[in-house]
Symmetry: C2
Subunit: 383 residues, 2 copies
């Protein structure tokens, strides 16, 4: 045997065998908020598996996530004002900023360059460079700031609990351009943007009804809708008011929680007028539409939070009732809709269901899981 | 050293190291078809750059691509019947099958497990395991087979030029279930599925008008629409008939090429009835909607194929005319809509435009580029 071959043979015997490498790509990954432990799971949707647990996210008792356009980074917004950049490739924290006090909600710009975070204290929105987390703009509002979303054209939109204003901030040029719209109503408590980025819909706590803005207008003006949608016959405290993330667009209609009633409302998606109601098992919290818009999956507030119902959008009929377990907090569909992942907080588990047959097809262990966010959100306006 | 420790050490040296997990970001990648050279570029949309050129795809004179759910693999369908699995992470071909003769069109199932390819010769659809490219099912039709799409629930839908039938194949169980619908019309030449996976719309060459199926129905029946949409006053040859990939959904309406006229048609997306027309610079080939649905970008057939127009969906008005260069073949928006990439075949270049300002913001060199496909398509029904 020649010398080089002999040396190669010796080396191959002496060195440890080469490690097997499992390659994952970010297109089908997701993050799961572990609310009690301040940690985040990185999951692989296709493999129905956990890739890693990452610690150090602070107070995740109310948390959300957005993704960079390449689906490499998740930006996790924590209740304590923490903004944490999670690298799904290295499975570690790439940056972290304590950007304010009591804080709910964040968004990423359409080009992925800016991350905005709203806060209750001191009140306002701060905008950060998505790469470095350097502060690039600060919008103090002297008000609890709610309903922060991204809109096409490099914009962020948010509203003020105290003043009833909505601000539209255009970050696409060197100098931010701020349009202030007043008269949205008494005590906006939450808002959403429609999937086409056109309409900004605001929930009001201080009066019955909701307000909407047409973001395609050069000078948007508040329009009132749903005059009967209010705090209910027995006025609810604000923390029991339905969150607008609980709205779902299913085909030509929205599904949304009724206020203080065991009902799901249906709205014509163009006119925003009521089409009808479905009686439900409990007070709906989230309605989530299967991506084809044919069905809506609904979870409920305590004490009915062990139950999920599947409702057909066209007819409003309940097709199926599931009992995943104690404290169902969140549901997330795969992007093409073939599976739905359901967090069952008090069973420390995520259940995975087939969305055609409603059969449970898998599960993933998680510590008090709440929100589940798949990377496909990187590619959708407002998410 | 104690015996057990020594044995453990020996074992750890002898056994392969535990599998390492490597994650790669694939969310903002894309593939560009280089039609003359049978090669494919892998591009990075955020960086506006080419990552690699990969050779060996055969005849790409008419080619398309779909993506695996993790956005790791692109499946490229070539004119010569080639089905090639491209690994975007290793930037190399991971598998290749010459699955038939003359062939146009392919699709991937909603769960990413199966890839289907249709062909003109011998006529039919073949279904392959997406991982191994093993043949798992064969549907001979004795007809040129066209209009292959995926539909929710693990289904594939395709139509027959010779017999005017549409087949709906459900692959979700061990045995495929085939529903055959007759009477779609004379000589279906192309088809599309709406983004909600509900309606399958078929273009007819042998008669004026189109046909549609409601895929939510248990027993779908062909419905005629657009009775005036035919081969035109001077009947066109089939290769000049507008391809249904040229349709765009913009908000509440479809934009589609008129037949043999310099016009864009607008259809009510619910009723599929005509709303109006916009006079255009040339015979439209592709209308592509900006993801928020506010604008549609349109390119034209030779000799007007150096021009692109931006048309406002709500008003039907032409907002802007661009002259990217000779032979604009394809346009692809980033997922949230802030950029559009435009292939300029005879300038060997892809132009990149800002979709708010219409300014050119970058370019990428490419050999006779035609189709551009971003990985965000992995997450959309029918793409």
């Amino acid at each position: 045997m020649r010398l080089m071959s002999f040396l190669s043979l010796l080396l191959s015997l002496a060195l440890p065998a080469k490690a097997e490498v499992e390659v994952h790509a970010t297109g089908d990954l997701g993050v799961v908020i572990e609310r009690t432990t301040g940690s985040v799971l990185i999951v692989d949707q296709s493999d129905m598996d956990v890739l890693a647990r990452v610690e150090g996210f602070g107070d995740l008792s109310h948390a959300s996530a957005v993704f960079s356009p390449d689906a490499r980074f998740a930006y996790i917004f924590g209740r304590d004002g923490g903004l944490t950049k999670l690298d799904l490739v290295t499975q570690s924290i790439a940056g972290r900023v304590m950007q304010a006090g009591n804080s709910i909600g964040g968004a990423i710009s359409d080009d992925g360059r800016l991350v905005a975070v709203s806060n209750y204290e001191p009140g306002g929105v701060r905008v950060f460079d998505a790469q470095t987390l350097d502060l690039v703009a600060d919008f103090p509002t002297q008000s609890k700031t709610i309903g922060l979303v991204d809109a096409p054209g490099g914009r962020f939109v948010f509203s003020m609990w105290d003043t009833g204003e909505t601000w539209i901030v255009d970050m696409s040029d060197a100098t931010p351009d701020v349009t202030k719209v007043s008269g949205m109503g008494a005590n906006p408590y939450d808002a959403l943007i429609t999937g086409d980025g056109r309409r900004y819909i605001v929930g009001l706590f201080g009066e019955d009804g909701m307000s909407t803005l047409d973001l395609w207008s050069d000078a948007p003006v508040a329009q009132r809708i749903l005059p009967g949608y209010g705090r209910g016959e027995e006025p609810l405290p604000v923390y029991k008011m339905p969150h607008l993330e609980g709205w779902a667009l299913a085909g030509d209609r929205f599904a949304l929680p009724a206020v203080g009633r065991h009902e799901l409302l249906w709205l014509d998606a163009q006119k925003l007028t009521e089409l009808g109601r479905t009686k439900t098992h409990g007070q709906p919290v989230f309605a989530v539409a299967r991506p084809d818009g044919r069905h809506v999956w609904v979870n409920y507030a305590h004490p009915h939070n062990d139950t999920v119902q599947v409702i057909e959008a066209a007819s409003g009929e309940v097709l199926h009732t599931l009992k995943p377990g104690p404290a169902v907090l969140h549901m997330e569909f795969t992007a093409r809709g073939h599976q739905v992942w359901v967090s069952v907080r008090d069973a420390n588990r995520i259940d995975i269901y087939d969305t055609q047959t409603f059969e449970k097809i898998g599960e993933v262990p998680a510590e008090t899981p709440s929100g589940i966010f798949f990377t496909a959100r990187a590619h959708r306006i407002g998410l």
